[in-house]
């Protein structure tokens, strides 16, 4: 049950940084008007953020990861989320076992 003081400080710094990013969007939209093309740009945020997070895994990590990403994406066209994710995880495990 030990908590190191410097560790606690580090956790609190991370918390402050994260909370800041989470609430600042609320203040941002209060000061920026959201009409027409800006509104459209806001709608593009979800795919843009998600893509930025996964792109290095999908295209620049290894063949196993790239293939597994493709498998997951194709599965997602037809299958429920959990099944698609499971297929992706299983394919990456198998491909890595083959040394890809």
């Amino acid at each position: 049950m030990s908590v190191d003081l410097l560790t606690l400080l580090a956790i609190l710094a991370m918390t402050a940084a994260t909370v800041l990013t989470r609430i600042s969007g609320l203040f941002l939209i209060r000061h920026v008007s959201l009409e027409g093309s800006r509104r459209k740009a806001i709608e593009s945020i979800p795919p843009a953020v998600l893509m930025a997070v996964v792109a290095p895994t999908a295209f620049a990590t290894g063949i196993a990861e790239t293939i597994a990403c493709a498998v997951t994406a194709f599965a997602a066209l037809r299958l429920p989320m959990l099944v698609s994710v499971a297929l992706g995880v299983v394919s990456v495990a198998i491909l890595r076992a083959f040394g890809l």
Binding site: V3, L6, A10, I11, G25, E43, C69, A73, V89
Partner: protein
């Protein structure tokens, strides 16, 4: 709104997040196991998961963890990894008309990627309500904190997550969600630019700048495309 519809909404939120809970538990276990190798106690690990509640930045923190801990180093890294939350909360806030200012603020404190993505998804077909959002948050938050503590306690018994492919669960969830946000060629352009910018940045710039770089590049693409469309209509 009556108590009954509130309960229905809350349960609806739980149903929506259920598959992601199945995906986040292994990630939480892995996080705990990694934290154990860095010398964090179960209390410290639980505290971090409960207060920070942002998987990506917690993994990055473990990556650069030192003894004694450097609050400036991990704090800045968390800011960098989580800067995408600024865009995410701005986007989601425009879909929270039914929330009081206070509950909007409270909801934003729990804006993890998965919760945000499910809420954005829901907002396309229905009006978001605080009760539904709480249904997303409560089980997901508990699953993240508990699985992290379980992971640090079980430690080395878990085996290598990379061999099992479990590290891939998180990107796989994101890929499924990306596919769901497809709205036509404009989305294709945004994805292409965002992905290319992220890969290029990750290749040339050390650290986690790639997330912010890709997200902003994608956003700019949408802005440019939107302006061009407006000019065509005007001329």
């Amino acid at each position: 709104m009556t108590e009954n519809t509130k309960l229905q909404d809350f349960l609806g939120g739980i149903r929506s997040i259920a598959p992601l809970i199945a995906a986040v538990i292994p990630i939480g276990l892995v996080f705990g196991a990694v934290a154990a190798t860095k010398g964090l106690s179960p209390t410290e690990t639980g505290l971090m998961s409960a207060l920070v509640f942002a998987g990506g930045s917690q993994f990055v923190a473990m990556d650069i963890w030192t003894h004694p801990a450097s609050w400036a180093g991990v704090g800045f890294a968390a800011l960098l990894v989580n800067i995408r939350h600024v865009l995410m909360s701005a986007s989601l806030a425009t879909k929270m008309e039914g929330f009081s200012p206070r509950s909007r603020f409270a909801s934003m404190l729990f804006l993890a990627d998965e919760i945000w993505a499910m809420a954005e998804f829901r907002a396309r077909v229905a009006t978001l309500t605080p009760a539904w959002f709480a249904g997303l948050v409560a089980p997901f938050y508990l699953a993240w904190v508990i699985s992290g503590v379980a992971g640090v306690t079980a430690g080395a018994f878990l085996g290598d997550p990379v061999v099992l492919g479990l590290d891939f669960a998180f990107p796989a969830v994101f890929i499924v969600l990306v596919m769901g946000f497809w709205k036509g060629p404009e989305t294709g352009a945004v994805l292409l630019v965002s992905g290319a910018a992220a890969v290029a940045t990750q290749h040339f710039v050390p650290g986690v700048w790639y997330i912010a770089a890709g997200a902003i590049a994608g956003l700019l693409t949408a802005l440019v495309a939107g302006n061009r469309e407006k000019q065509e209509v005007a001329s």
